[in-house]
């Protein structure tokens, strides 16, 4: 079976010479939920921006649903990889939530009447249908985050990539977002520093540090290994312990 995401030997150096990735291998099967963990500067964001062709691999290759990321098919790749960015204010730029949700599918050639249907389905999936005509400026943090998620869901992506989905959310909004994500039934790659969130949402975790994958296994096992976590500048919040 084709994997949702298949990254092989991916290496990348920024134009200023700073090498961020030194051969990353990562395979995510359809329907998996995987957490991508690692300290600041480990190369997480650089890896994410390779998945939808913003960065082009220096060496190695990236395949999404069996389609290799190349210059020619970058548009289809961007439809297949739905990135939800860390700050919803960066993602929500249209005057109303509904316009914003329609932006992606419209770019990918979806037209009316299907477009309205997509917008409605996406807003329903994250539970913010009543916010369709509101301006993103006047939403709460949790609503904004879910609206940003809807903008990506409307593109019907093969894999959902979430960059720090729980930052700036109060505990209730954080839990509500988890409920929404668990109910989506989609392949997911979640970049996060919120280790309990990774444990709650993702059965499998991949740890990257210094531009390479240093661990790949069940989230619970990884988070229970205090020495391993310490070696890669990761730690559970105060009061948490796993056996």
């Amino acid at each position: 079976m084709t994997a949702s995401l298949d990254v092989e030997g991916l290496a990348f150096a920024y134009p200023d010479g700073h090498q961020a990735l030194f051969g990353v291998d990562l395979r995510i099967e359809r329907g998996e939920r995987v957490a991508l963990l690692g300290p600041n500067g480990a190369g997480k964001t650089t890896l994410v921006l390779h998945l939808n062709g913003v960065h082009r691999a220096g060496a190695g290759r990236v395949e999404v649903g069996g389609l290799e990321v190349t210059r020619e098919n970058v548009q289809e790749i961007r439809r297949r990889v739905g990135i939800v960015f860390q700050d919803p204010d960066d993602q929500l730029f249209m005057p109303t939530v509904a316009d914003d949700v329609a932006f992606g599918p419209a770019n990918f050639g979806v037209t009316e009447p299907e477009l309205s249907l997509r917008v409605k389905e996406a807003l329903d999936a994250v539970g913010v249908a009543e916010l369709a005509d509101r301006s993103p400026m006047h939403l709460s943090g949790g609503q904004r985050r879910r609206a940003a998620l809807a903008t990506v869901l409307a593109c019907d992506p093969e894999i959902l990539v979430l960059d720090e989905p729980s930052t700036h959310l109060d505990p209730v909004a954080r839990r509500e977002l988890a409920d929404v994500l668990l109910g989506l039934d989609r392949t997911m790659l979640m970049v996060t520093h919120d280790l309990p969130y990774a444990l709650q949402l993702c059965p499998r975790s991949v740890v990257i540090d210094g531009g390479v994958v240093v661990a790949d296994g069940p989230t619970r096992d990884l988070l229970a290994d205090a020495d391993f976590l310490a070696a890669h500048r990761l730690e559970l919040p105060f009061g948490f312990a796993l056996d």
């Binding site: 913003v54 990889v81 960066d90 329609a102 419209a106 990918f108 301006s135 400026m137």
Partner: protein
């Protein structure tokens, strides 16, 4: 339209004027202003009639005059200029209440005052009956280059984000005892303006990245906007056509 993105110039309503498609209103407002500008300045009565036409539109749109008047105050600086002209212009002069006023200056001042006022009132009427986002989509329907419309859309959205950021930065300065009273104490404020510029620039890059990730290729997708029937156009054009006829009649009067 939801109140979520109300702006101070917009007055929510469901009148016939509110319901007109935005691009129709933009064209009508533009033609009306052209007619006003083309009216000879000596045709005093014509301006009165054009004003009455506008009053008719306000009645149809149910906008109270006081509401409009406060928003038309933006014109005030130009009024000052118009008032000064009769004192400083050269040429034949008339005596009025012990003051010597230039005839040409009086007419020039009147010209600025009356055309400016009518122009501002037309613009405020347009803004009062059309939500901002509809204005932008109306412009794009009128074939305004899409890049201009994208810039306008982004500006509408991020002006508030940047203003909120500026407020937070100011609060953080004030909370640390910053209380600029003299020009030489403005340094911190100036530096935070610089920081705000850099932050906004970086946000622009992130927004662009997020747009690219959702398939943006440089052209905004064409969202369908309501088209206007011939009947709608005919009805909406009435004030503009009447204003234009009045302007033409002004050349006979004057």
């Amino acid at each position: 339209m939801a109140a979520g993105h109300a702006h101070p110039l917009y007055r929510a309503g469901d009148s016939v004027v509110h319901r007109l498609p935005a691009h129709v209103k933009i064209v009508v407002a533009f033609l009306f202003v052209l007619a006003v500008v083309a009216t000879p300045r000596e045709a005093f009565a014509v301006f009165g009639l054009q004003f009455l036409l506008l009053v008719g539109v306000w009645v149809a749109a149910r906008i109270p005059p006081g509401w409009l008047a406060t928003r038309a105050l933006i014109e005030a600086p130009f009024v000052v200029l118009a008032v000064l002209l009769p004192f400083f212009a050269t040429g034949p002069r008339v005596e009025w209440m012990g003051m010597s006023l230039a005839v040409d200056g009086l007419l020039a001042g009147w010209n600025i005052l009356v055309k400016g006022t009518l122009g501002v009132l037309v613009s405020v009427t347009l803004a009062a009956t059309t939500p901002l986002r509809d204005l932008v989509s109306g412009l794009s329907r009128l074939r305004v280059p899409s890049m201009v419309c994208v810039i306008a859309t982004l500006m509408l959205r991020y002006l508030e984000v940047i203003a909120a950021e500026a407020r937070r930065m100011r609060l953080a300065r004030v909370s640390r005892g910053h209380d600029p009273r003299f020009v030489w104490q403005l340094g911190a404020t100036v530096r935070s303006v610089g920081a705000l510029f850099l932050r906004s620039y970086e946000r622009g890059e992130r927004v662009h990245l997020a747009m690219l990730s959702r398939g943006y290729t440089g052209a905004m997708p064409a969202f369908t906007t309501a088209s206007a029937s011939t009947a709608t156009w005919s009805l909406a054009l009435v004030p503009a056509v009447v204003a234009a006829l009045l302007a033409v009649s002004g050349y006979w009067v004057a």
